[in-house]
C-alpha cells in the first residue's frame, strides 16, 4: 500500500435509496441505505468496512459493483464512471470486479459441480475453453487449497469453509483487480475463519488484488485491513489506518463499537468498563437530523441536531465526522462541556 497509493476506485457522493411502502395505500417512503458516501479505495489495499446491521455496508459494496443501481453519485474505475455505464458496457467491466458472499451455502448452485461453478465465469467472458479451461480450474482449486480431485463433486459434499474456498476460486477465475468480500467469514467456525483470512491475505499479495472487506467483526477487520471505514446509518463516520482506529478511535460511535467487542481474556474483561450504547440504530427511513448518531451519543449537544457533520481530517490520514472534535482538540473526552470546536472546521469545509 505504501508503494502505490493511487485510488483504484473513487467513490463520489454515492447514494442508494430504496422506495418502500408500509401498506398498500400507504405513503411512499425511502430507505436511505447509502446516503452520500465519498471514499477512495487505493490500489493494493484492503479497505475494511464495519458497522452494525442495517448501516448500509452491504448495499455500499453492491452499489460499487452495480449489483444494486445507485440513485446518485459516481464510482470511478479505470477512468470510467461505473454508475452511469450501460448494462453491456458494465458487463465487460465485471471481469475486473468480483464479489465473495457471506453465505457459502446460498451462493453456490447446488446442481452444478465445483468444476462448472468455477469455470462458469471463464465461459461467460470467453477466457478459456476445453482443456485449457480444465487446467485453469485445477490451478485455481490448488491456489485456494482444494484438491483438484474434487472437480466433479457438488457443493453439498463440502463443509462451510471448503465452500467458501469454492466461492473464492470462482471470484478469482477471471483475474479481477478488485474484490468485494462481503462478510466472508461470518458464517464460518472459529477454526475455519483464520484459514480463510490467511488465504485471502495470501491471494491478495500473490495476485496484487484490492479488497473491500465488509464485516461486523471488528477484530477480523482490524487484522486484515490497511485502512478501516466505519459506517453508521448510510454514512461513513470515521476513516483511518487500521492501527490508528483501534489505538485511538475518535468518534464516540467507533469507541463504543470497539469497547463492545468481548476480549478473550478474563482479566481484561473483569477490569474494563464498557461504553454502553443506549437503544438501537434508528430507522434509515427517518434518520435523525444533523448527526445521525446523536440519539445514542453520550456527548451529543443541541448543535448536533442541526449541523450534518462532514467527514474531515482530524489527525494525519484520520478522518471523522463530528462537530465536537477538531484537529486542535481531537479527544472528545477533553472537549469543554457544550463546546463544538469542529463547528468552524466544518463551516470552513463547507465553504471550501
Amino acid at each position: 500500500m505504501e508503494s502505490n497509493t493511487q485510488p483504484l476506485i473513487s467513490i463520489k457522493d454515492l447514494t442508494v435509496h430504496f422506495p418502500v411502502r408500509k401498506s398498500l395505500f400507504g405513503k411512499r417512503q425511502t430507505v436511505k441505505a447509502v446516503d452520500g458516501v465519498s471514499l477512495d479505495i487505493l490500489a493494493g489495499e484492503t479497505l475494511g468496512l464495519v458497522g452494525e446491521s442495517g448501516c448500509g455496508k452491504t448495499t455500499l459494496g453492491r452499489a460499487i459493483l452495480r449489483l444494486v443501481d445507485p440513485t446518485a453519485g459516481q464510482v470511478i474505475f479505470s477512468g470510467q464512471d461505473l454508475a452511469s455505464l450501460s448494462s453491456s458496457a458494465m458487463r465487460a467491466q465485471r471481469q475486473h470486479l468480483q464479489i465473495i458472499f457471506q453465505d457459502p451455502y446460498a451462493s453456490l448452485n447446488p446442481r452444478m459441480t465445483v468444476s462448472q461453478i468455477i469455470s462458469e465465469p471463464l465461459a461467460t467472458f470467453g477466457l478459456a475453453r476445453g482443456a485449457e479451461r480444465t487446467r485453469r480450474v485445477q490451478e485455481l482449486m490448488q491456489q485456494v487449497g482444494l484438491s483438484p480431485r474434487f472437480l466433479k463433486r457438488y457443493p453439498h459434499e463440502f463443509s462451510g469453509g471448503q465452500r467458501q474456498r469454492i466461492g473464492i476460486a470462482r471470484a478469482l477465475s477471471v483475474d479481477p483487480s478488485f474484490i468485494v468480500a462481503d462478510e466472508p467469514i461470518s458464517a464460518l467456525d472459529v477454526s475455519i475463519q483464520s484459514q480463510i483470512m490467511n488465504l485471502l491475505d495470501r491471494l491478495r499479495r500473490e495476485k496484487n488484488l484490492t479488497y473491500l472487506f465488509i464485516s461486523h467483526d471488528l477484530r477480523a477487520v482490524q487484522h486484515v485491513s490497511d485502512r478501516v471505514a466505519v459506517m453508521y446509518l448510510g454514512k461513513i463516520v470515521e476513516l483511518a489506518p487500521a492501527k490508528a482506529i483501534y489505538a485511538r478511535p475518535l468518534m464516540p460511535y467507533t469507541k463504543a463499537l470497539i469497547s463492545a467487542v468481548p476480549v478473550p481474556d478474563p482479566k481484561v474483561e473483569a477490569a474494563r468498563t464498557r461504553i454502553m450504547l443506549e437503544g438501537e440504530v434508528p430507522s434509515p427511513i427517518n434518520p435523525p437530523s444533523g448527526c445521525r448518531f446523536r440519539t445514542r451519543c453520550p456527548y451529543a449537544i443541541d448543535a448536533c441536531a442541526s449541523v450534518e457533520p462532514a467527514l474531515v481530517q482530524i489527525l494525519p490520514n484520520h478522518f471523522a465526522a463530528c462537530i465536537r472534535i477538531s484537529s486542535r482538540q481531537p479527544d472528545i473526552e477533553r472537549v469543554a462541556p457544550g463546546a463544538a470546536p469542529g463547528l468552524n472546521h466544518q463551516a470552513a469545509h463547507l465553504h471550501a
Binding site: 452494525e52 491475505d201 487484522h223 476480549v263 464498557r274
Partner: protein
C-alpha cells in the same frame, strides 16, 4: 427437593446418538459436566461439537427418533431428569429450567401477541389469574428494560427489533424464577453493541436472582467475560474443563490452545494468523484415536491409535489428551 453437594445440575457420562440411514452419529458421547448454584458455566465449541445437543437433552427436547439418549444421567437437584414422567418434565421445563435460543424470531409465536405468550407461562405454572399474569408480564418486560412496557406488551413479535425480541425471550424465560437458565448462543444473531446490552442484562439478572446459567457460545470473548467455569467440546466429547481464568491462562489441551491462538488480537501485529489446519470431523466417521489428531500440532503415533485419557491436571482442571500434563506445563511458561 433434596440438595446435593452445591451442584444444581450434574450431567454424567451423557450419550446422545442419532440414527441415520447408514450410520450412527454420536453427537454427544460420554459428556459430563456440573453446574454449581449461582454459577455460570460456559460451553464452547464449534458447530457439530455437540454443545447444543447436550443442552437440549437436559430439557429432554431431543426428538426420539431419530435421536436417542443412549446412556448417562442428568441430575437436577439430585433427581435424574432422564427418569422423569412427562408431567414432571413439564413442570421442570417451565418452572425450574428455562432456555433461550440464538434466534428469538423462531422461538416466539409470530401469530400471538407478546402479552399472551408471556402470560401463558405464569398462568400455567404459577396459577396466576389473568390480571396477575398481565401485571407480572409488564413487570418482567420492565425488568429487561423494554421501554413503554405496558404499551409494547400488546405488540406482535415482528414489531420488535432483534435485540428487543431477545429481551422478550429473556423476560419469558425468567418469568417463573427458574433455578437454571440455559442460553444457547443468545447473542450470536445480534450486533456487538446490542450483544453488550444483552450480556449485561443476563449478568445483572443473574446476580439479582441467583439463577445458575449455562452459556453456550463459540465466542471466547463472551466466555472470558461471562463465565466462572468452562467446558470445551469437540466432536461430541469434552476436551477440557477448567475455571475460566485458568483455562485462558494455562490451557491444558492442544485444541483449546489452538482456538485461543486463532482469534485475531487487535493489539498485536498484523500478519499471518495462527490457523488450525483441516476440517471439523465427520461425526459419522470418526477416526479411531483422538478425534482432533488429524488437525493437532502435538500429534504423535499414539494419538491416531488410542483414544486419549481424561487427565486430571488440578482438582478442577481436566484435559482429554495423551500429552495433557506436558501441554499444561508448557502453558505455564
Amino acid at each position: 427437593m433434596p440438595k446435593s453437594n452445591g451442584n444444581l445440575l450434574s450431567v454424567k457420562d451423557l450419550r446422545v446418538y442419532f440414527k441415520t440411514e447408514d450410520s450412527v452419529v454420536k453427537a454427544v458421547d460420554g459428556v459430563s459436566f456440573e453446574v454449581k448454584r449461582g454459577q455460570t458455566l460456559g460451553i464452547v465449541g464449534e458447530s457439530g461439537s455437540g454443545k447444543t445437543v447436550a443442552n437440549l437433552s437436559i430439557m429432554r427436547l431431543i426428538s426420539e427418533p431419530p435421536g436417542q439418549i443412549a446412556g448417562g444421567a442428568i441430575e437436577f437437584n439430585g433427581r435424574d431428569i432422564l427418569k422423569m414422567s412427562p408431567r414432571e418434565l413439564r413442570d421442570l421445563r417451565g418452572c425450574h429450567i428455562a432456555m433461550i435460543f440464538q434466534d428469538p424470531m423462531t422461538s416466539l409465536n409470530p401469530f400471538m401477541r407478546v402479552s399472551k405468550q408471556l402470560m401463558e407461562v405464569t398462568q400455567l405454572h404459577l396459577g396466576h389469574t389473568k390480571e396477575e399474569a398481565r401485571r407480572h408480564a409488564v413487570e418482567m418486560l420492565e425488568h429487561v428494560r423494554i421501554p413503554d412496557a405496558s404499551e409494547r406488551i400488546d405488540s406482535y413479535p415482528h414489531e420488535f427489533s432483534g435485540g428487543m425480541r431477545q429481551r422478550v425471550m429473556i423476560a419469558m424465560a425468567l418469568s417463573c424464577k427458574p433455578q437454571l437458565l440455559i442460553a444457547d448462543e443468545p447473542t450470536t444473531a445480534l450486533d456487538v453493541t446490542i450483544q453488550a446490552q444483552i450480556l449485561n442484562l443476563i449478568q445483572k439478572l443473574k446476580t439479582e436472582t441467583g439463577t445458575s446459567v449455562i452459556l453456550i457460545t463459540h465466542d471466547l470473548g463472551v466466555i472470558a467475560g461471562m463465565t466462572d467455569y468452562v467446558t470445551v467440546m469437540y466432536a461430541g466429547k469434552v476436551f477440557e474443563q477448567a475455571p475460566t481464568p485458568e483455562l485462558f491462562e494455562r490451557p491444558g489441551n492442544p485444541y483449546t490452545k489452538a482456538l485461543l491462538q486463532s482469534v485475531p488480537d487487535p493489539t498485536s501485529e498484523q500478519g499471518k494468523l495462527f490457523q488450525i489446519p483441516g476440517q471439523p470431523p465427520d461425526l459419522a466417521n470418526l477416526p479411531s484415536g483422538c478425534p482432533f489428531a488429524p488437525r493437532c500440532r502435538r500429534v504423535e503415533e499414539v494419538c491416531r491409535r488410542e483414544f486419549p485419557p481424561f487427565v486430571r491436571l488440578t482438582s478442577n482442571h481436566f484435559s482429554l489428551c495423551h500429552f495433557a500434563d506436558e501441554v499444561y506445563a508448557e502453558s505455564a511458561t
